[in-house]
């Protein structure tokens, strides 16, 4: 009896080991992705917006490979933790491009684990505007071409950028710190593109003529063509309310004032008092537009439309899902078109 029991335990453990190994082997085989060549510079990006910026910057440039960290399928980037796959990729990576501003909660762990990994923090670069040296001319040129309003004129200039951004950032307070969804404002997104390009070109003396600089010119020109549907005139200085803090930057990009914010995601428990305060703010400030994300805002959106005169518009934040190429421009155009449609 006793012998057979030990035999049983041994067989059990061996068979589990075998089954696990075989299963894992085939799983890995099925999911095998191409691995980096050693002579290529592996650029990892933390989230879709910086991924889109980076692939456009490095489009057709030899010697670079861009890879996005795995994206959370639900919820907010802030509380995302890295998978083993990510850790493996990061250990091979040369550069990590992050949005910054607290968006990547795991960033400190990554810095501690890979001290040699070069990190391009777009938020920090814009905040301190160190990253603009040598790149201002493109933006100044653009400014000459399009006669922008006061605030966008101030954007490309080094000193003013930092001042303006710090103001903006302190305006939109967030539980995780400042509101770091800066890519939702296309002008700040252009700054991100430039700071990434600057970070990637650091060691290159002839940077202005490089393929990267050419790509940046092309991409920022394309970004300039984002169609705001005249919203920057139509809703300028109008009051809006938002159900996701990312849309604070959407509102800012068309000059609207955010008078009420309720940040919804699947882990967020809203209290009754918060909802009634939010609805009161909508009524009191005569809010006509509410920006929301469909997945988490639709039930609250219905409630708002029922209880107030405001119209709820569902917009994309670019955080979830797979994007490629010029999708940033498509998504923003679609967002502005959606806003235009309910007006």
């Amino acid at each position: 009896m006793k012998k057979s029991k030990y035999l049983f335990v041994l067989l059990l453990l061996i068979s589990i080991t075998v089954v696990c190994s075989i299963g894992t082997f085939f799983y890995v085989k099925l999911n095998n992705e191409q691995t980096a060549n050693d002579d290529e510079i592996l650029v990892m990006t933390s989230c879709n917006p910086v991924y889109l910026a980076t692939i456009n910057i490095l489009d057709g440039v030899d010697g670079y490979r861009v890879q996005n960290l795995s994206q959370p399928t639900t919820g907010c980037l802030h509380d995302y933790t890295l998978t083993t796959e990510d850790m493996k990729n990061l250990s091979k990576a040369d550069v990590l491009v992050v949005n910054g501003g607290g968006m990547e909660g795991y960033l400190d762990d990554v810095i501690a684990a890979y001290p040699d990994l070069k990190i391009i923090d777009t938020y920090e670069a814009i905040e301190h505007s160190d990253g603009f040296i040598g790149m201002d001319e493109y933006l100044i040129k653009e400014d000459e071409e399009h006669d922008h309003e006061e605030e966008s004129e101030s954007l490309p200039l080094e000193g003013k950028v930092s001042a303006e951004l710090t103001d903006e950032v302190s305006e939109h307070h967030h539980d995780h710190g400042a509101n770091s969804h800066i890519w939702m404002d296309d002008r700040l997104y252009q700054c991100q593109v430039i700071s990434i390009a600057n970070g990637l070109m650091d060691a290159n003396p002839n940077r202005e003529e490089s393929a990267i600089a050419e790509n940046v010119r092309k991409y920022t020109a394309a970004l300039e063509k984002i169609d705001k549907q005249g919203l920057d005139v139509a809703v300028a200085n109008e009051n809006v309310a938002i159900l996701h803090e990312a849309f604070a930057y959407t509102a800012q990009s068309i000059g609207a004032n955010v008078v009420a914010t309720m940040d919804l995601d699947e882990e967020r428990q809203v209290s009754a008092g918060e909802v009634s305060e939010f609805l009161d703010a909508i009524r009191d400030n005569d809010v006509k537009l509410v920006f929301a994300e469909y997945d988490y805002g639709s039930s609250m959106g219905k409630l708002i439309e029922e209880q107030t005169d405001a119209k709820v518009v569902y917009l994309e934040t670019l955080v979830h899902g797979d994007y490629s190429g010029l999708d940033y421009i498509t998504v923003l155009n679609k967002n502005y078109a959606n806003i235009k449609n309910v007006l």
Partner: protein
């Protein structure tokens, strides 16, 4: 394949951590199952939330400290109240656990910021640091010493408390010490295992071992073997398949449980 795996510092640290935590889980688990304290350890796991909340309120940067302090107090309080015997102990523990969880959730969800702490629900063994491994080594030594000194007395108490008392054993002291030990183990490992699954790791190996063992020695050894095996196998599988480690360990431990259950039933 394995060479590549151990070229990553995080995998080496995670493997060491698993090798330290899993035998402890297997060992302490046997006594938890024997003393029917599964509810108790579950409640302790949930109280970790309140511990973190207390730390946040008092501004303690290292929430592990507040978690341990709270966990030890919680365990002693639970023991004290269940001795009073006002209502059955599973009810009492449920009440305490829900109360602690609710308190923790309420405080941590202030301003909707609970998502900052959601990592603790699932746990993340890959982010373990060297300092934390040293903590685990100390804990490993403490539990091992305690185990060798008092396993016989603990067993006696778990079988017949009154009889043990008549043999002039300090039942209360032993029970409290054991509760504090569980609290330490749970609080120090909860960050890596996660609140949702920590009890599974404590209970499953011991329960599987109970299905097939005939004496206490076998019971303890099998439990430790199952625990280490599922821990290491779970970590490796999760590494290659890119899935969360904690759940993978529990899945393997569950398979062992069902296999031993079927074997034990037919015996």
């Amino acid at each position: 394949m394995f060479n590549e795996m151990f070229s990553y510092a995080f995998m080496i640290r995670a493997t060491i951590a698993i090798l330290l935590i899993s035998p402890l889980f297997g060992m302490v688990g046997t006594m938890i199952v024997q003393k029917r304290m599964a509810y108790f350890s579950d409640a302790l796991g949930h109280s970790a939330l309140t511990g973190i909340a207390a730390g946040v309120i008092m501004g303690i940067a290292n929430t592990t400290v507040s978690m341990i302090i709270f966990g030890v107090c919680f365990a002693l309080l639970l023991n004290y109240i269940s001795r009073k015997g006002l209502s059955s102990s599973d009810t009492l523990i449920s009440v305490f656990a829900s109360c602690a969880t609710a308190l923790g959730l309420a405080i941590l969800s202030r301003g909707g910021s609970f998502s900052n702490y959601s990592a603790i629900l699932v746990g993340d063994i890959l982010s373990i640091t060297v300092t934390e491994i040293i903590q685990l080594i100390v804990l490993f030594a403490v539990i091992l010493i305690f185990w060798f000194v008092s396993i016989n007395r603990l067993t006696a108490i778990s079988i017949h408390a009154t009889l043990a008392k008549s043999r002039s054993m300090q039942v209360r002291l032993m029970e409290d010490a054991f509760a504090v030990l569980i609290a330490l183990l749970v609080m120090l490992s909860i960050k890596w295992v996660g609140i949702l699954l920590i009890n599974a790791l404590l209970i499953l190996p011991a329960a599987s071992s109970r299905n097939i063992s005939e004496n206490f020695r076998e019971y303890t050894y099998f439990s430790m073997i199952f625990s280490i095996f599922s821990g290491v196998a779970g970590l490796f599988v999760s590494y290659f398949t890119d899935m969360a480690t904690g759940p993978m360990i529990v899945i393997i431990a569950s398979v062992i449980y069902f296999a031993t259950y079927i074997y034990g039933k037919d015996r």
